[in-house]
Symmetry: C2
Subunit: 363 residues, 2 copies
């Protein structure tokens, strides 16, 4: 076994989830990730934890077979009970074919996601970690060789997460007390939103592995303006390009996409929360130096910001603020490396991808 | 996909488990069985059931990694909750390597099995089905080509189970009201046991698929005599040959084996119930025409009987009789094709593999 797999497992078990004796854990993983799941079993056993492997969200052929043969969905009581009783949840992404569910009707998928929301809430209420195994199909999606992709993934995952936390803390200090954020990129994106009262979190490889962003929630009704997401969105096996959203009073009042606009439309129509933003994130991990069609990595890229329609994460909403609720949470990315600024309460914090605290540029 | 896979799934869903709308099911399967699990999802979805795939008992590398890194075991609460809430359980055997856990300490394995007993009891209290996918490693164990083994498995599984039920009912009629059974084979096996008050069940492909036996439980203290199990036992990745057991007052007072006797000793030492019989079964399925080192098939072979040390199945114990309890249930087989008789209450019911109701032989 590649020694980097056991290092990866150590980061998951000791840094991301901090397992201890008696913890009942669920690992959702496709068989292509078997080596990492084996390494997780070695360490979980050593720490006294009890792992159960499922293929719920990550059994791609099973999902396809199920979704193509059913159109009304319920929340299964046995899964609900499993998640209620577990202490920690580890999802290991890794596919045999990332387009396996591409011939599932998007409307069916949206109905399914909606019925699964209580399960999602349950998982998010526990210690959880989402990570990636460098499978061949994911390398292919990124346009990389499998070995090249292995280097990319393990360089991003097996690192000094304390150093990452310290670097990112500088941006948390700026954004956490802020009232208003304005983001401008070229002549296609100009958007303002309030983040007043909403905490900014520092993602250093706990819930997401790799980590590498700071993020908060916009106040749902405050978002105004237009955004062109220049990085493609890969959703449910389909690539959606040039997503354009126009916001008024927080709501998406106009949308379009270059390719697969129907997928975007379905996402927005899931429920009313899917038409509002649930997240603003600033990608700060410059070790993720290329786009790989994988949001877990892409949203952490340096010189990007991302916004998600749908559900806001609990910890990013102040106790007196409204939380955006939705069955979905779909991130989309804006390249900020050129002709771009992030302004916080009227002051430029980042220009063309460089932070003020990095070079103290003149405004 | 081989059309026999979808036929197999139909037998499981409509005959063995009879799934209906709203049923929450758990499918425990190794990824080598993926095609059958896909077909089960198609049909489960169509019937309105909710499947969850786990790799609990059947994730062989995960089990090995877990068991080699832990020596004290508990019953995980999340698994207990999952099984309590489910309506049906389907285990699909199929291995990548049947000897994957051969370097796990048998004592560790026994301790693990004991801690898992509440889970086993929970599963057995639900609708359940154990079946086999014809994976290459299982073909190899049987000494067969993969395609030859596919024919063997699907010929045994995809058949008219009503006809099987009717054929076997003739033996149920003999054994169900019986008091005493005596089994003699060559000069190595002569054993008597009471089955008084214990019902005889007809296995026609419900809990076991393939089915093909009738079985009951001996009264625990009644077993007297000696048995040489001439078919090898394959247990936890190890082959145990020529198992010999001597019973006094129902208890195993002497045991030996030709190869891997330590595995047998560990089984018997699991708990006190492991030293008594929990089952007597008569194999009646002549379509299973060869030994394949797989108890699910082997115990159903025509011209054999099998006895299991350990746990008795609930339905085979009369309400006023004692039920043998144990963390294990391990079947072993005696060839009855030559120089052998089964006597029930002093009358010969089978001689050299032929039943009285088949040819009405003179006693």
């Amino acid at each position: 076994m590649d020694p980097r797999i056991r290092e990866h497992a150590e980061v998951v078990v000791d840094h991301s989830t901090d397992l201890s004796a008696g913890d009942d854990i669920v690992i959702d993983a496709h068989p292509v990730a078997e080596d990492l799941v084996v390494a997780l079993h070695e360490l979980a056993a050593d720490r006294g934890a009890n792992p159960l492997v499922v293929q719920e969200r990550l059994g791609e052929r099973y999902q396809r077979a199920f979704l193509r043969n059913r159109d009304d969905f319920e929340t299964p009581a046995h899964l609900q009970a499993l998640y209620e009783e577990m202490d920690a949840y580890i999802a290991v992404r890794g596919n045999a074919n990332v387009t396996e569910t591409s011939d599932v009707d998007p409307e069916t998928n949206a109905a399914y996601q909606q019925a699964q929301q209580p399960l999602l809430n349950e998982r998010l209420s526990k210690t959880w970690c989402l990570t990636q195994f460098p499978a061949a199909a994911n390398a292919q999606l990124a346009g990389m060789s499998t070995e090249g992709y292995e280097d990319f993934v393990w360089d991003a995952v097996n690192k000094d997460w304390d150093a990452v936390r310290n670097h990112q803390a500088q941006m948390v200090e700026v954004l956490d007390p802020a009232e208003e954020v304005r983001i401008v990129s070229g002549d296609t994106t100009e958007v303002t939103m309030s983040v007043a009262g909403n905490p900014t979190l520092n993602d250093y490889g706990e819930k997401n592995l790799p980590g590498g962003e700071v993020f908060t929630a916009p106040v749902p009704d405050s978002v105004e303006g237009e955004v062109l997401f220049d990085k493609p969105l890969y959703h449910q096996g389909r690539e959606v390009t040039d997503v354009f959203l126009r916001f008024e009073g927080g709501e998406v009042v106009d949308h379009s996409a270059g390719k697969n606009e129907a997928v975007l439309t379905q996402v927005l129509n899931t429920d009313s929360g899917a038409q509002r933003l649930g997240e603003l994130g600033i990608g700060m991990n410059r070790d993720i130096d290329r786009f790989s069609y994988n949001m877990l990595f892409d949203e952490k890229m340096g010189d990007t910001v991302h916004m998600a329609v749908g559900r806001a994460y609990g910890g990013t909403v102040g106790e007196h603020n409204e939380r955006n609720e939705s069955a979905v949470h779909v991130d989309m990315i804006v390249d900020m490396s050129e002709d771009s600024v992030i302004e916080v309460d009227g002051e430029v914090v980042q220009r063309d991808g460089t932070f003020r605290f990095e070079d103290g540029f003149e405004e």
